[in-house]
Every structure is written in C-alpha cells, then in structure tokens.
Symmetry: C2
Subunit: 365 residues, 2 copies
Amino acid sequence: MADKPAATAATQEGQARAKMGAVKMDDIARMAGVSKSTVSRALSGSPLVNEETRARIQALVESHSYRVDTRAQGLRKGHTHTIAVVIPLLHEHDQPISDPFFLELLGHIADAVADHGYDLLLSKIGPGRTDGMADLVDTGRVDGLIAIGQSTAHLGLERLAARGMPLVVWGAQLPEQHYVTVGSDNRAGAERAVAHLIAQERRRIVFLGQRTVPEIRLRHEGYVAALAAAGIEPDPALDVPTRFASAAALTAMRSLICGGASFDAVFACSDVIAISAIRALQDQGLKVPEDVAVVGYDDIQMAAFYNPALTTVRQDTATGGRLLVDLLFAQIAGRTARSVMLPTELVVRASSGAALSGTTTPGSR
Amino acid sequence: MADKPAATAATQEGQARAKMGAVKMDDIARMAGVSKSTVSRALSGSPLVNEETRARIQALVESHSYRVDTRAQGLRKGHTHTIAVVIPLLHEHDQPISDPFFLELLGHIADAVADHGYDLLLSKIGPGRTDGMADLVDTGRVDGLIAIGQSTAHLGLERLAARGMPLVVWGAQLPEQHYVTVGSDNRAGAERAVAHLIAQERRRIVFLGQRTVPEIRLRHEGYVAALAAAGIEPDPALDVPTRFASAAALTAMRSLICGGASFDAVFACSDVIAISAIRALQDQGLKVPEDVAVVGYDDIQMAAFYNPALTTVRQDTATGGRLLVDLLFAQIAGRTARSVMLPTELVVRASSGAALSGTTTPGSR
DNA sequence: GTGAAAGCGCTAACAA
DNA sequence: TTGTTAGCGCTTTCAC
C-alpha cells in the first residue's frame, strides 16, 4: 500500500505530460534546486547566472523538452511577438481569389517575419473593416499590422495611423497620406508598359482594371500619360473596369469584344486579368499577339509559362515583402518609417508582339 | 494653478490612449462603480448580472472602445483561440513556390477558422521540422495544428499524434497511420485521368511527379492501375520525377523531350506542373493536344483559362478546407476524429484532346 | 549569483 | 446579484 500513492502519482504525472506542456518553469526550478527567477534568467541569457547553474538548468530543459510559454511571457513583457497580415479579397463572394501575386508576397513577408523571430497571424478581415484591424492589436493579439492593398480603406487606415498603431500597407502612396506604404511605382510601370505597346505600332489600347483601387488609378494615369506622349487621345470605350478574379476579367473582356469595340492591344492590371483576357480573345478567334497585343502586371511565376508567354510589369515581391516587414519593425521599435516606392521593370515576352520582330522562342508561334 | 494638474492629467490620458489599449477592465469597473468580476461577467454574457448594470458597463465599453485582452484571457482560461497552419514548401530554395492550389485551400481554411471565432497563425515551418510544430502548441501559441501536405514528415507527424497533440494533415491516408488526414482519393483520381487519356487512344503516357511524396506515390499507383487495365506495361523511361515548382517541371520535361523519348500524353501531378509541361512541349514545336495530350491535377482557377484549357482532376478545396478545420476542432474538444478521403472529379477540357471530337470551344484551336 | 514578492490583465471559485 | 480572493506562467525590481 505504500506503493499505491507513488503509482498513482506516476500515472497522474504521465497523464499530465501526455496532456502536453505540463512541465512549467517552476518544475524545472524545483528539479534544478533553484528558484523560478534563476531559471528565467538562465533562459534569457542573463550574464548574472553562474555558468554551472545555467548548464544544469539547460540540461533539465532539454531532457524535459520544456518551452517557455510565450503567451505568459508576452503578457508580462507587454508584447506578443506576432504581427498580423491582413489580406483583402482573400475571398470575394465567398470564393478565394487566389491571385498568385498575393501568395508570392505573403511568402516573402512570412520569411522576413520569421527572421525577426516573430509569428505571423493571417487575418481575412478585409481592409474595409479597419475596426477589425484595430481589434487585432487592441486585444493584445499582435504587435503590428501589415495590410496588403489599401483598397477602399484609405480613411480607415489614416485613422489607425493617427492612433499611433504600428502599420504598413502594400499599395499606392496617396497625397497627404499619413500611414506608411510600400509599393511599386504604378504610374511609371504602367506608362512604360503602354509605351512599349505603342512602340509595337498599337494605337487602340484597352485599359483593363478597376480604378476605384488606388494602385489601379495610378496605373491608369500612367496609361493616359503614355498615350498623351504619343499624341493619342484615350477612348472611354476602351476603359474596361474589372475585378481581379479570373471570371470577372473574362466576362469584362468578352462583353467588350461582343460589343464590337475595335482595339489592337490590352493593358491588363494584373497577370491573372491578362491571362483571362487572352482566353477571351482566343475564344473569339483573335490571335495574341498578332491581332491583339497584351501586357500584364505583376510578373507572377506563371507569366513566363503561359502561352503565349506574358509580357508584364514586374513587381519585386522579394524586396517588397522584406521592406514591409522592416518598416513595421521600425515603427514597433518607436523609430519613424518613411514610405517606399519600388522601381518597376518591364519584362518583354511574346504576348506583346515584340518578340515577333526579333528573338522568338522556338516553337512559341 | 488649480487647472494645471487637470491639464496634465488630460494630456497623460491622451498619451496613454494614443499609446493604445491603455484602458483595461479595471478602469471600466471603476467607472461603472462595480468590480472587475462584474465587468467580466457582463462581457461574457453571464445571466447573473443585472440588466441595468450590464447596460451601464456596455456603454462604458463602447465609449472607450475597450476590448478584452485575449492574451490574458487565454492565459487564464488555458487556451489560445488560435490554430496554426503549417505550409510545406512555402519556400523552396528560398523561393516561394506559390502554387495557387495552396492559396485556395488556405483561403477556405481561413474562412472555416474564422467561423469558429479563432485566429490563424501561419507558419513556414516545413513538415520536415515537426519539433517546430510541437513548439507552436507547447509554447502556448496555438491550440492545434493543420499541416498542408505530409511530405517527408510522416514519422514526425506520427510522433505528434502520439503525444496527443490536436493535429490534422492534408494529404494521403497511409496504412497504419495514427494522425488524421483529409485528402482526395489520389489513387482513383489519377486512375480516372489516365484511363481518360487511354480512351483518347494514347498509349505512351508520361508520369510527371515526384513519388517521394505520399500523395504522388498514390497517384502513381492509379496511373499504373489504369495502364494495367488497358494491358499497357509502364515504361520506366516515362516516369519523370519533378518538384512542384514551374521551373523544375519545365526542366524535367525539356530533358525528357531532348532525350528523344517517344510519348503521346502526359499525366502531370499538379496543374502548375502541367502548365510548365505544355510550355516545354510547345517550345519544342509539339502541339497540345494534337501531338501530346496533357492532364493536370488540382483544377486551380487558372486551369480553365490556360491555353489550351486544362483537363484536370479537381480537388475540392472548399470542403477539404472546412473538413480540415472541423476535424481539428473535434480533436480540440476531445472528440475523436476519423480521416476523410474526398471523392475526386475529372474535368475534361481541351488539353486532353477529348474536345476535338465533340464540342470545341470556338477559337480554341 | 540567487531568492522572494509583486504583478501583466483576466476569470472563477467562494463568499456575502 | 455582486465583491473578494486566488491564481494562469512568466519577468523583474528589490533584497540578500
């Protein structure tokens, strides 16, 4: 009977361990014959703790695979060690839009955040709901926010920034704007793309994108500027709004064609839109780039693999993602951060027709 | 001078508010003239609190836009209200692979998680590092894990499951496996796809995918089964391993072609791979589907927009994502969950050549 | 170099 | 119906 309590205890201990995370700092302290404080110091690399003691503690920690509870740690230290990424339009009409551009950017953000030793909370709150974004930090869930795309939330974002909330947004730099943004030079990128089309002897160029989005509005300005430089007046009939989803772009393009509009080129505001547009064109028996030249935007990985390969404006997601994160951490650290506009690069491939009069990839018609 | 302290206080209060989340439950309690506990009860909808009191508290909460600190709440209640999604290969050689299939699934998972009122932590720890996955819950950061793809981590996942960690993985259901999975019927899906190819009079069918991944191994079994049913013996020369990245698939396909292999169809293990393969084929002057029929896997949104439109095996990410989450919550709630294998559907489009002898989309060559 | 004690902001017995 | 009292697991003065 003397054994019974021991056995029971063992069992309980076993159950406790099975039920996870059961061993806590106090337990380690007891086993090491020191106090909780010493363990805490040892684990945080304090120089005040005896080397021998530290080693003993370390060993215990390893053998019991103890991990400090970051939740409790954060509560005490006043931070969360996690930042939130808010993606707009992760769903549109309950459907994922799944634009590869987002994943690429997200991937780089995830990398950078991990490099800082932080966790990443992914939120599907659209930027339209800035109150939800505020909640994320007000409820102590994250230390700062990255919003991908400002969409229609400009005012809400201004409000958050005014409240002193650490926040960086991927998007356009608007005049009089107080939150910090990272984004490509939309105006210049679009202008260069359209100028390239014009250089291919195209004059009636469709603008495919929704100007309610700030970035798209800037691209439209670039489009107009390029036309103006060539003495072409923009035709309102060729201004075709569309959302970023493939289906929407397909529909928009289709109705343009069936409406009998005449055009010889398309500037699409994303590669996904461009691809859908090409599909629509080919479905109607039009050849790309012979009949209609097409330029996209983003340079998603698939752009090079599409058929025809897509001429497009590259957005550098690698440095963009890293910048987003660095600027956010600067704010969290109390430093001031300034918006950055990334340069943009035109990648010429087959879809714009330029390759026809020059180096053509064998077999790429 | 009587005003001075007041002014200072106001400023300090202002600063405090600006510095965020400054107002806490105690403050609300004091203002409402009740105790912290009453506020807590009121906010959690306890029926024990007086309606009039609750209203008063509610008003204070609104006007001060107070939000309970979920981190402290979680510490006390013993949960985190967040679950982690671990994505394999979010980066490969430091490059995002950005397979749209992942984003689609992730989007649906995000939806389902949000419906449960939970947050979603995105981790780039590959499934190879199951210790890192364990840390996520051991350090109290999340209540459970969803791994997308088991990849090479089968044993590690088994260990986690054995430890009683709430865990669901998207992938193949392996024999003798103890963790719960959700995935499509890879074997049947592949078999149907290959049978379809055979029905188009194709006999020399390339298998494009890496069999070290469990799901792919099952698809290969389906491939072999379909061939066997038609009395065709699999040719090792047509078994072409490739990773999921576009570039890798392109290279693999190219070297197959240049190696002089003879084949009339390709079964690709993902749509991204299929698209890259088609690019490689066309670059070499081969026509799809006339010379080579191609079938993909996943049915990503772009599949329908590719040129030629892709015949593919659809994986239902919507119900898959929801199932993943539901099964995880079942485990967290202490219920037992059983693995689910989703049925699979062959979506026939132009790339497999079937449309040639029937309804062809106009202009789709 | 180490320990005791006081919280971080919240919830949950237990009283009243 | 409400208040009081303990903590959740950790860090950090302040003593020794």
